[in-house]
């Protein structure tokens, strides 16, 4: 049996010490009728060599496409040092830092991470991460309802420009507690939320307004106007943001006149590979006045018996293991390994590097849009400024186009016709700093061929 060190002599000695004849005796409290005979449905064991062969074969089958999809997960170059260090056994196989003195590595790392995210978002305090961006948004909604004492409605405004999967997740997670979610329409030309759309809610009890920047279409929202509306109307503001973009765009701590209340988002762009959708991590930051309502772990700096600096989990009274039924959330973990990767990534890039990655991604997307709209039947769908992602309208079924591009080794974008049927045949495309001129030329050339073939057919 793999990973089991016991020799027959070990077993004998241990059974003797316990005072039983066989290992089977250790299970004598389990009713015989429940004992399972054999595990059908589980194949025979394989050696590491044999498993390796299968995994290589399956990976080869999937291959490596040239990726132009964003839609919530972004391909960026990850410096080699990030995962070389993150997969060190001392980080990889460590547990949650409950014994602080034996976990100063992880704890100091979290403190550094919190500091970086607070600055990046322009907020006063960050937690140690949540599961992913979607569940972070759900947690932000739950937090807003808890934090906003004066609002009784548990009513949250969710623009249609917020990631559609995230909106579903919010309903699944927060929807069991009598919340109301109202959708705000978007401008059909701009692809952004019109501040005027909020007029319908003037003077009403709204607990929170969610603003995604850039929004799901890649378009830039008028964050100051939207934030000021919320303030005038007594609503809290939840900002859902892309962390790379924060190197260039105004952070939510500076939106409106004095910033937002809660910031959340998907941290994957910071040093975490695409890996078919996970594991990623969610980030959350807030004002100090709301810190006791913030879910997730938080690390604080303190001193030890000698007055020496050390780090420990703090404000644990918010968490499930203390408050149980009255906890702010049932969350038990953070995404330690991914947060570790992000901290190392942000350290290696620094303020200059992150800004350059953001700027390069923005420029590459502009080049991509320029080249692709030269293909017959392809045009830019919205006229708002965008950041590193853009919606293109196409005069062929988007799904088919993507399949044909995939056959040619290109993951061309996301077909929006499922989530936004009113837009017709559209693609959400993204190019990051990982794409160069040749990549973009190749995509344009293949798209041309695909479109021309359809015409001929």
């Amino acid at each position: 049996m793999p990973f089991n060190p016991h020799t027959p002599a070990d077993e004998r000695a241990m059974l003797d010490a316990i005072g039983v004849r066989s290992i089977d005796d250790l299970f004598d409290e389990i009713p015989a009728s429940l004992r399972v005979k054999a595990l059908d449905g589980v194949p025979e064991r394989l050696s590491e060599m044999e498993v390796s062969r299968i995994m290589h074969e399956r990976a080869a089958r999937d291959g490596l496409a040239l990726n132009f999809i964003g839609a919530g997960a972004y391909e960026h170059h990850i410096p080699a040092a990030v995962w070389a260090i993150t997969t060190r056994g001392e980080f990889y196989s460590a547990y949650t830092p409950y014994q602080a003195e034996a976990s100063q590595g992880t704890l100091q790392m979290i403190y550094e991470y919190q500091s970086m995210m607070a600055s990046l978002t322009g907020m006063e305090v960050s937690n140690a991460s949540l599961y992913d961006g979607a569940s972070a948004l759900a947690e932000a909604c739950l937090m807003a309802v808890r934090a906003h004492r004066r609002s009784k409605s548990a009513r949250i405004l969710l623009p249609a420009t917020v990631n559609p999967t995230y909106r579903r997740v919010v309903r699944s997670i927060a929807g069991m507690q009598n919340f109301t979610f109202e959708e705000l329409p978007y401008d059909p030309d701009g692809g952004h939320t019109l501040p005027e759309a909020l007029g319908a809610y003037d003077g009403q009890d709204v607990t929170a307004l969610v603003i995604q920047q850039p929004n799901f279409f890649g378009a830039l929202e008028e964050v100051d106007e939207l934030t000021r509306w919320a303030r005038r109307n007594g609503a809290l503001v939840i900002a859902l943001v892309n962390p790379t973009s924060l190197a260039l765009l105004k952070p939510p701590g500076s939106w409106g006149d004095n910033g937002v209340d809660i910031v959340c988002g998907e941290g994957q762009p910071l040093g975490v590979p695409l890996s078919s959708g996970g594991p990623y991590f969610g980030f959350m930051a807030t004002r100090m006045e709301h810190v006791r309502q913030m879910p997730g772990r938080i690390v604080g700096r303190t001193v030890d018996l000698d007055g020496k600096q050390g780090f420990t989990l703090t404000l644990q009274a918010r968490e499930q293991h203390i408050r149980r039924g009255k906890a702010t959330s049932n969350i038990c973990t953070n995404q330690g390994l991914l947060m570790t990767a992000a901290t190392i990534y942000l350290t290696l890039l620094g303020p200059v590097g992150l800004e350059r990655v953001a700027a390069a991604s923005h420029a590459r997307t502009q080049e991509l849009v320029a080249k692709l709209t030269q293909v017959k039947g392809v045009r830019q769908r919205f006229d708002r400024p965008y950041f590193h992602e853009c919606v293109l309208a196409i005069d062929r079924p988007a799904g088919e186009v993507l399949e044909e591009l995939a056959a040619r080794g290109i993951a061309g974008g996301l077909d929006l016709s499922g989530a936004y049927p009113e837009l017709g045949e559209t693609l959400l495309v993204c190019a990051t700093e990982t794409k160069n001129g040749q990549d973009i030329e190749r995509y344009a050339a293949e798209l041309s061929r695909v479109v021309a073939a359809a015409r001929a057919a």
Binding site: L34, E44, Y92, L120, M176, G336
Partner: protein
């Protein structure tokens, strides 16, 4: 110098990364060429750069490598944390899950070009069904707590679908893990706690009185959080089912019964598994976990999406994601994509390496190690919480006698164990047992390791009698001494700021 000397002890501390910053220093190999961003309105642009470290690549590597060396981990230390199942994380699980094609794949890339990955996910679903005795599995919950949320949400959806709207109460044993009641609250349910008997089993008479038309379900772990098997589980299931409620299984302790008993056979309707415990995916300093859920026929329509489906295609099979269209009564989505794919791949690889035979023996060696430790520690004079019971994969010691007679607590023992080179067991959980240590060795630990821990406990007991202060002020040999938690909560320092 990367450390600062502390005048009072002479011991060094690691600087916070920001303290290494020098303005203008960069890890230039990682930085793309400059481009001037165009087309963004100036009022939406950032005015000031964020405060991020400005260091060289070597400084970064040295800093984080040194930080890693301050940690205890499975790779470096015996880590008998009860209820956490700190078994060896095979390196192959990591390297194969991180093959370039797996890590480069965008979650929304066409399924036609993800068949290799999807086949792994499908087979994982099937293997998890087989070991748990369930008929459907969703891999999407991203952690145990999300698995719990899914489980309770499915139970509530089941009752709503039958128009049985009076059922809003979840029964939870007093010894339950804190996530259980927190989950029930998140699902809009009321809680009813029932006590355990003196032998550790749930109080069945109390359960009988607690069930009724208001009962949505019960959340149980088996073996329980007290480290013992619920011997009357068949009866418990009957009582709850007859009252119209459903049974949810918290899979935290699945390692104790893997291959021996299946939760489906015990009468559970829904289970969550902790892949980061039982199936050896990495704990990572606090995540990522994965809380896959399994269901029986009753709850199959409510599984969270997406789930991998398999269709015949020519001579072979085709795999695809089943979504809300395919599972119209689904409780919905819990994650932005499909859950923690990379974690799931690691669990898949682990299960393939264990195989049928290995999976059936996990619980055997987990139980052997736990029972051996309990027997020898009791022999050395320590008090087990449930001495007449078999240990499952874990057991509880109570140090209430030491606390009363010698003034040393479970916390003190735990901190002193760190000096002996062992990570402490779980302390003060379950809350029911005073001054407790919950000890779970797991099956991957060798006899000498267990003996070393037992010897350390014996030595610490002697120290408790002769020089208790040594325990109360432990640890003495770690990078820091005991930390001031009270100050951490009162004088909140949660974000580094440059000195004024």
């Amino acid at each position: 110098m990367s450390t600062t000397t502390n005048p009072s002890t002479g011991a060094n501390r690691e600087k916070v990364i920001f303290e290494h910053s020098r303005h203008g220093r960069t890890a230039s190999a990682q930085i793309p060429a400059a481009t001037k961003p165009a087309g963004i309105p100036s009022h939406l642009l950032r005015a000031e750069r964020p405060v991020l470290p400005e260091v060289s690549e070597l400084q970064a590597v040295r800093h984080f490598t040194r930080l890693s060396q301050l940690n205890f981990s499975i790779d470096t230390h015996f880590y008998p944390l009860g209820s956490c199942t700190m078994k060896y994380n095979p390196k192959a699980c990591n390297s194969l899950a991180m093959l370039p094609e797996f890590i480069a794949r965008h979650p929304l890339a066409p399924e036609s070009h993800g068949q290799g990955f999807l086949e792994c996910m499908y087979e994982l679903q099937q293997m998890l069904e087989a070991v748990t005795g369930m008929v459907g599995v969703s891999l999407t919950p991203m952690a145990g707590a999300q698995g719990e949320l899914a489980g309770v949400a499915m139970i509530m959806a089941y009752h709503r679908a039958r128009n049985d709207l009076a059922r809003d109460e979840i029964i939870v044993p007093q010894a339950a893990h804190g996530t259980n009641p927190a989950t029930a609250t998140m699902c809009g349910c009321k809680l009813r706690e029932i006590p355990c008997g003196p032998d550790g089993d749930v109080d069945v008479e109390a359960l009988r009185k607690a069930v009724g038309p208001q009962t949505a379900g019960i959340m149980l772990t088996n073996p329980s959080t007290l480290g013992v098997f619920e011997r009357r589980i068949v009866e418990v299931a009957k009582i709850v089912h007859e009252s119209g409620g459903l049974l949810y299984y918290d899979g935290a302790n699945l390692n104790a019964i893997l291959g021996k008993v299946r939760p489906g056979d015990m009468g559970f309707d829904v289970i969550h598994m902790n892949l980061h415990k039982t199936f050896s995916t990495p704990h990572g300093g606090g995540g990522p976990g994965s809380g896959a859920v399994g269901v029986n026929k009753r709850l199959l329509p409510f599984l969270p999406v997406p789930v991998v489906g398999r269709e015949k295609s020519g001579d072979g099979a085709r795999y695809r994601w089943l979504t809300e269209k395919d599972v119209p009564q689904s409780i919905g989505r819990l994650s932005g994509f499909m859950g923690n794919a990379g974690v799931l791949l690691r669990a898949y690889i682990y299960m393939r390496m264990l195989g049928r035979d290995g999976m059936q023996r996990v619980a055997e060696y987990a139980a052997l190690n736990a029972n051996y430790m309990m027997a020898r520690l009791r022999g050395a004079g320590f008090e087990a919480a449930y001495p007449e019971r078999r240990a499952s994969h874990e057991f509880i010691l109570t140090l209430r006698r030491q606390a009363k007679e010698l003034g040393v607590t479970a916390m003190d023992f735990a901190k002193r164990l760190l000096d002996y080179g062992f990570h402490a067991p779980t302390t003060y959980f379950p809350l029911l047992v005073p001054e407790c240590l919950l000890i779970e060795p797991t099956e991957t630990e060798a006899l000498e390791e267990l003996d070393g821990f037992i010897d350390a406990m014996i030595a610490i007991q002697q120290e408790a009698q002769s020089e208790p202060e040594k325990l109360r002020t432990a640890p003495h040999t770690l990078p820091v001494r005991r930390l001031d938690d009270v100050r951490a909560a009162k004088q909140l320092d949660l974000v580094w700021r440059p000195a004024a």
